[in-house]
Symmetry: C3
Subunit: 303 residues, 3 copies
């Protein structure tokens, strides 16, 4: 394993090994010298303090040096091509590039053109994939439920444009989850069912959430709400927000996940976000651990 | 001591212990491993390279990892609430948040809502408090004068809006200084004397500076000068600038302080800023040492 | 050697020692603790991710702490003078300032006014000097050719405004290179031959490149092309671009250098930039090594 571009590359054994390693890191077993002398660069073409900070902390906790490429000041503003930037960074001897880009496939494109042993980690590309989010969500769910085969999982929000939904579905399928329901207004459901093989889709959130073990809420964007005929945030909340009434339809121990940052009162009610079933802050903590596991796997594979 | 929000929380013994620790750090006794593996995040909602850099250097010199939250790229731009940002950072396992905010009380608000053992350090909030500045000014004065009870201290500038003045007065009172005179044009004096109990106020700078042991000049802002009937910087300088003539009215060994950055020729004449009585660069050096002491006290209290 | 401002300060022995040290660092002999506890600050008044990143990596690989001064958020925006910023940074105990500035002589001005043992490293000032670029270009050329006295070197591009050309010429002359030809359209040639003593100048690139051992291409700016009567990039490329036809006029082992970032299809054809004679990525790798050597020389001189 040299790059982490999508979760399609990982079979159940590989994915489980990563999650197990992350779990050990969470319990405090981080070897502070594991990546000493290695350099991790975050290369973000879209703003995201949360994910970037998570990768930076993961790197530092394993002893790696970190660099953040501030693209507003970068050579790309002088018109340098992305591949020239890649080769320049490789020549400087970097070990890993953590890339977020608005276009699908850009991390894969960089990985494909890398000349050296540099590892490319996809930190989210367009609507395509966000593999470390898929991993951390799987880790979060697994911490409470080992019998993943029997889980009923609902993902609700802008499925069509969500790289989180894609990577979550992939991680959960690989781990054996069979019952995944995608819920959204029509304009936010997948254009083709083939995009999410093996998943059910529905526009009825009350129905979807019945008896659920896990509900993953997605962050919603205002522009998209309008396009889906919800000009007011309150309207979206009425139909697709997770509030206490709706959560009561799920199983009593149903876990609530959200990749953050949350829009309180839009896709999720504050009482649910802050409630006892919320795993949102566990996701954040697991995010650092999962990224440590990925960096360790790529840069310091077990002998 | 878990947070540092204002100097009101520190009695004379606690404050003296911090200054003593800072003094030892200045003389080179910084244990580079004291905060190894700990993470300090600077969270600045107002720009300040000087104070931020001072905290970052203090952290690094004790071996801590540092992160700077660049708020223009942060999740807050996606509408995340400040408390959600706080809880996210806590979940990532940060040890200290160094917060500067334009509104009074924001660091206290964050400290009050923190779920975990994270320490909040106030790096300046509105017109309310700037505790590390109060500490470093006290340390600077104390390096030359041990008999603080007998000092005559003048603070001159925009007292009304100054968090520096408030924290300086608090630190000096706690250490036993009895004679503090606040000097400014009327529109910059405190609205109520109760805000600065035990301090004299005057609009006559020549009178205030007579026989002074310490003069603390405050940075003045152009908008405020106009509001105080000084449309031209030269007018302000004439009445409230510290020049060599005025400094000669003070005691021969009178110390001159300024929190920086200075406006040369406005609140302070270049000859004074660069003169033998200026302690301005000592303040900068003491600032790093004081912040090391605060971080050490909060994150690695003596057993 | 306390500062590195221009290469004029270095005689052949000193320059050779630096290159030898850089060569050792490239082969992996970087002592990770050499600069432990030292602090290097990059102070860039012009954007340059490439050079800044190179200095930051060089510092980290020797164990130094690094700080980047983001000038858009700095006190200079509050009107602080450059010298006050310098003295503030000195008081904070920094060991080296890596300065890039648009005006000639600014690093020297800072070095001249430094009060303490801080080292100033010029990372490019105006059209004046870019000493580490001169060093890394010399190192790159020397890796393939030891008999520098017999080299025929061509530098092509906007010589008049190029600090790279000035520092390259200086480095190569010091190392014994005798045949340097400067090639550009008239408006980009030196205003006076005295600026580049000992160099030939020509407007005919085909002629200049005949039998060359080294061709150094300079990055060209669009505004400058227009001023030199090349309103279209294609016109410039026709006359002053390095393509395979022109490169074939040089010696078969002729090395092609470019400081980057390159403008593909303007001053250099993609086939040449990516071809077997291109040393562009070697320059990048050498850049980190040379900056490590400079930092080591200034902050940890051999006993």
């Amino acid at each position: 394993m040299r790059h982490l571009l999508t979760l399609e590359e990982l079979d159940r054994a590989a994915l489980t090994r990563l999650l197990d390693r992350a779990e050990r890191f969470r319990s405090g077993g981080a070897p502070r010298e594991l990546l000493a002398g290695r350099t991790v660069l975050t290369l973000f073409f879209e703003p995201s303090t949360r994910t970037r900070t998570s990768f930076v902390l993961a790197s530092k906790r394993l002893g790696a040096d970190t660099l953040n490429f501030d693209l507003s000041h970068s050579s790309t503003s002088k018109g340098e091509s992305l591949l020239d930037t890649l080769h320049t960074l490789e020549a400087m001897g970097l070990d890993a590039l953590v890339v977020r880009h608005g276009e699908n496939g850009m991390p894969a494109y960089l990985a494909q053109h890398a000349n050296t042993r540099v590892s490319v980690i996809n930190a989210g590309d367009g609507t395509h994939a966000h593999p470390t989010q898929g991993l951390l969500d799987a880790l979060t769910i697994r911490q409470r439920r080992r019998d993943l085969e029997n889980l009923h999982v609902v993902i609700c929000g802008d499925i069509r444009h969500s790289r989180v939904a894609r990577s979550d579905v992939r991680a959960l399928h690989t781990l054996g989850v069979r019952d995944i329901r995608l819920c959204a207004p029509g304009a936010m459901l997948p254009e083709s069912p083939a995009e999410f093989p093996g998943c059910a889709t529905t526009e009825d959130f009350d129905d979807a959430v019945q008896g659920a073990d896990v509900v993953i809420m997605l962050r919603i964007q205002k522009e998209r709400m309008a396009a889906a005929q919800f000009p007011e945030a309150a309207d979206y909340h009425t139909h697709y927000g997770l509030d206490t009434r709706r959560l009561a339809l799920a199983k009593p121990e149903c876990q609530v996940l959200h990749p953050g940052p949350i829009n309180r009162g839009i896709e999720i009610a504050p009482e649910v976000a802050d409630g006892r079933q919320s795993r949102i802050l566990d996701q954040v903590a697991n995010g650092v651990a999962v990224r440590m596991a990925v960096l360790a796997e790529l840069l310091a594979p077990p002998a």
